[in-house]
């Protein structure tokens, strides 16, 4: 077989992959549009006041792991205590912080230790103590102090000792809208089938004006890096997850904000402490558990902007985050490989899992192979620069089209970035993102794959500036 033949076959394979991925993206865009449109129509004329007055709403326990959060934990907790929901409690899990997180909580919320039961359902690192507040104003607050074991381990401790039927897992540094719980619980109220989880859209809080732990003015981030993530989050949440929600094939509810049915989470085994992608792994395991038990169920998703988070604004930190996300994806796909192409799991086995395998995990690998292939062609002087040029234009225009469609969805649905100059800035970001941002993300994913092969499987430190500073 000569070099031209090899080049021909490889070109065809790349073309086929590109076509399939493009069709996949266009399909998700179509389903997302339908889902967002229906959601807007459903809730545009009725208020939620009766929900607030109801004693029949499911009770929720908010679980917020905290590790070295002494600077922000008090303010963040105060904002959590003022959420609009009839019955909820908050459980802060101090995951062996080295700073004075626990001390600050004890002092500010008048905490005292309480007796607790041993041998819980989910195995965790040793719980050193459980604290309740003496102050009735904080009667719905509980603090679990435990030896450091990571986020998954902390959440498991929270699941063990919370009282309510639904658990809402959040990052303690996230900012929730006041009606976040009320909105996120809706799938549990509407469905006749059992709902095991409900996820919400995560928004980028960098540069937003924050007062008393609430977003009071939405601003577009100043840095390109954070802006690129705004566009990326539009694509991921408003397009990807909305579509999967419509098809009931959602495999991931962000660890930053999601509600789960406690009983199902416990029965499925709780969070897996051995993976760095514990959020995706839990949902996949819960879905698999329900399917294997032959219990009818569903997973909900709410497109309202409910949770705001600070995204990395340094390339180094972003690299760590994406590296970790890739490892989490690989680990989850490996743990649940039995589901892949397995008709027993219906849409999960036949569509969701293959999609994650080919288009989430493999996409950066295929891109890398494409680059290597290109170098190979240069070496053998087999590059047709006309073909190369037009191919790059196709790829670039498609990437722009996909992002611009995501911008349109934001404009059509919630229009959080209200100033006209933000639209222009976002369009500029969309034009630059495939050139400056995407190659970096691809490299971080490749590095994640390399790390998992070489056994480097650390969580990685995620330093953040802190949102409580954005008050000007």
């Amino acid at each position: 077989m000569n070099i031209d033949k090899i080049a021909d076959i490889a070109s065809w394979l790349f073309l086929a992959y590109g076509l399939i991925i493009s069709i996949g993206y266009m399909t998700t865009a179509f389903f997302s549009f339908l889902e967002i449109r229906d959601y807007k129509r459903k809730y545009n004329f009725q208020d939620e006041f009766p929900l607030l007055q109801s004693s029949n709403l499911p009770k929720i326990s908010i679980l917020a792991p905290a590790y070295n959060e002494a600077n922000n934990v008090v303010n963040n907790l105060k904002s959590l205590l003022t959420l609009n929901y009839p019955v909820y409690d908050i459980i802060i899990i101090n995951d062996g912080s080295k700073d004075d997180t626990l001390l600050k909580l004890i002092e500010n919320f008048d905490l005292e230790p309480t007796a607790f039961l041993g041998n819980p359902a989910l195995e965790t690192k040793k719980v050193r103590g459980i604290y309740n507040s003496k102050n009735l104003a904080f009667k719905n607050l509980k603090v679990i102090d435990k030896i450091n074991g990571g986020k998954a381990d902390s959440l498991n401790a929270g699941i063990n000792y919370c009282d309510n039927e639904l658990i809402c897992c959040i990052d303690v540094d996230c900012i929730l809208e006041t009606d976040a719980l009320l909105k996120l619980v809706k799938p549990f109220l509407h469905n006749k089938e059992k709902v095991i989880a409900s996820g919400g859209v995560i928004r980028v809080a960098n540069s937003c004006k924050v007062e008393d732990g609430r977003i009071v003015e939405v601003k577009l981030p100043d840095s390109f890096l954070a802006r690129a993530q705004v566009v990326e989050y539009f694509r991921a949440f408003l397009m990807g997850r909305m579509a999967w929600s419509r098809l009931d094939g959602l495999l991931l509810i962000s660890g930053a904000f999601g509600i789960f049915d406690k009983k199902t989470a416990i029965e499925a085994g709780g969070y897996n402490t051995k993976t760095v992608g514990e959020d995706m792994e839990l949902l996949v395991r819960m879905r698999r558990f329900m399917r294997e038990k032959k219990i009818k169920y569903t997973v909900g998703f709410v497109p309202d902007p409910l949770c705001w988070t600070e995204v990395p604004d340094k390339w180094r930190i972003l690299h760590r985050q994406r590296n970790r996300w890739t490892r989490g994806t690989v680990e989850t796909l490996w743990i649940h490989r039995k589901m892949l192409f397995n008709p027993k799991y219906k849409i999960l086995g036949l569509l969701s899992m293959p999609y994650w395998l080919f288009f989430e995990w493999m996409a950066p690998i295929i891109e890398l192979i494409g680059i290597i292939y290109f170098i190979f062609l240069i070496v053998f002087d087999a590059v047709d620069y006309r073909v190369l040029g037009i191919f790059l234009v196709v790829v670039y225009t498609f990437a722009i089209l996909f992002s611009v469609t995501a911008l349109f969805f934001e404009e059509y649905s919630f229009q959080q970035y209200k100033k006209p100059k933000y639209i222009l800035k976002l369009i500029t970001t969309v034009l630059l993102e495939p050139l400056l941002y995407h190659p970096f993300i691809m490299w971080a994913s490749i590095k994640g794959n390399i790390d998992i092969i070489t056994g480097r499987n650390q969580w990685g430190e995620m330093s953040k500036k802190g949102l409580s500073q954005n008050t000007d």
């Binding site: 004329f45 109801s54 041998n119 509407h190 073909v387 037009i390 225009t397 611009v404 911008l407 229009q415």
Partner: protein, 341 residues
């Protein structure tokens, strides 16, 4: 442009030609989407201004009509309709404004606001919406009928009690509660679909806040064919403290359906009915985990500490949720914590 067209379509390599066509198509789609974004932004700004202008105009007119005595208002109403309520957009704002007035006023003023609805022939619009094929239009129209107490369209709304679209069905349920002067839940006899928790919450809210008649006996709904209606009946029996219905609830604690057993026990807890204690203690060992959880709550509230200790041995060591529940309730029941390994 013709050169580009020639270049693309005279290309012999079809893969190259395909890629070039794709590039052009994508580029056009990008431009189209960007224009759509900008148009959508501009349209929203214009629409907001237009809405504000119409709202002001309508508020002024409706306010004047309600609060000023003017013999010749009939002509002004007709003239306003002909001049300002021509399109769908204007009519929708008019309905919204009338709804606002109706919600915030009482008595004669409210009646006057609603009378404008008829004078402006907006009923025809609602009739058309109810006959529309779009579910969201139907739901919104039923919501308007309900808020303005327009009962003459009930024959059009009744079939929606069994609509396959949840939102339409929910609005129809609320409409019929509002409509009934004395038997607010009689529509439940006509429904064939289970009612969701969302619907239950809204029905209960309507009963507690908007229904003006006497609260009826809810026990007949315990005989309904749908389990969700039976559960809802138990909830409202508890909510409205209909203690006299306790004997009707008791048989459900031995029902085949787990949910019914659980809600029956919850209802009995709320009604503080101790008659089930013996039976629940006897059944505890054989019960499912969820029902056991509710029985623990029942015994801790309505039983003695001896009753409570009696069931401890039947809680599985693997059932953490029930062990934790038992542990917590035991702390409430007795000052000294019952040992529990």
């Amino acid at each position: 442009m013709p050169e580009l067209y020639d270049y693309i379509f005279n290309e012999k390599n079809w893969v190259l030609r395909f890629n070039m066509i794709c590039s052009v198509v994508f580029l056009l789609m990008i431009l189209f989407t960007v224009v759509l974004i900008l148009r959508s932004r501009i349209y929203k700004i214009i629409e907001e201004k237009k809405t504000a202008r119409y709202q002001e105009l309508l508020n002024d007119f409706v306010g004047t009509y309600i609060f000023e005595e003017d013999e010749d208002f009939k002509a002004r109403i007709d003239s306003f309709r002909l001049n300002y309520l021509k399109g769908n957009f204007e009519q929708e704002i008019a309905i919204k404004i009338i709804l606002n007035f109706a919600e915030n006023l009482k008595g004669e003023s409210r009646e006057k606001a609603i009378s404008l609805f008829y004078e402006w022939k907006l009923l025809e619009k609602l009739r058309a919406e109810l006959n529309s094929s779009k579910w969201h239009r139907k739901a919104k129209a039923i919501h308007t009928c309900c808020s303005l107490q327009i009962w003459e369209l009930s024959h059009l709304i009744e079939p929606f009690l069994n609509s396959s679209k949840t939102e339409v069905r929910q609005q129809a349920l609320l409409y019929f509660i509002h409509r009934s002067p004395e038997d607010p839940l009689n529509f439940l006899d006509k429904i064939e679909f289970d009612i969701t928790l969302w619907e239950q919450i809204f029905i209960q809210y309507e009963l507690q806040n908007n229904y003006k008649g006497d609260i009826p006996d809810f026990s007949p709904y315990l005989k309904h064919t749908l389990n969700s209606v039976k559960i809802f009946a138990m909830k409202i029996i508890a909510e409205f403290n209909q203690f006299e219905n306790s004997p009707n609830i008791l048989p459900f604690i031995e029902d085949e359906n787990e949910n019914l057993r659980q809600y029956a026990i919850e209802c009995l807890i709320e009604l503080q009915e101790p008659a089930a204690l013996g039976l629940l203690k006897g059944n505890f060992a054989l019960e499912t985990s969820s029902v056991q959880y509710t029985i623990i709550e029942y015994i801790s509230k309505l039983g003695s500490s001896e009753d409570f200790e009696d069931i401890q041995k039947f809680i599985s060591q693997c059932d953490w949720i029930n062990r934790l529940k038992y542990y917590k309730n035991s702390k409430i029941l007795t000052p000294e914590i019952i040992s529990f390994s």
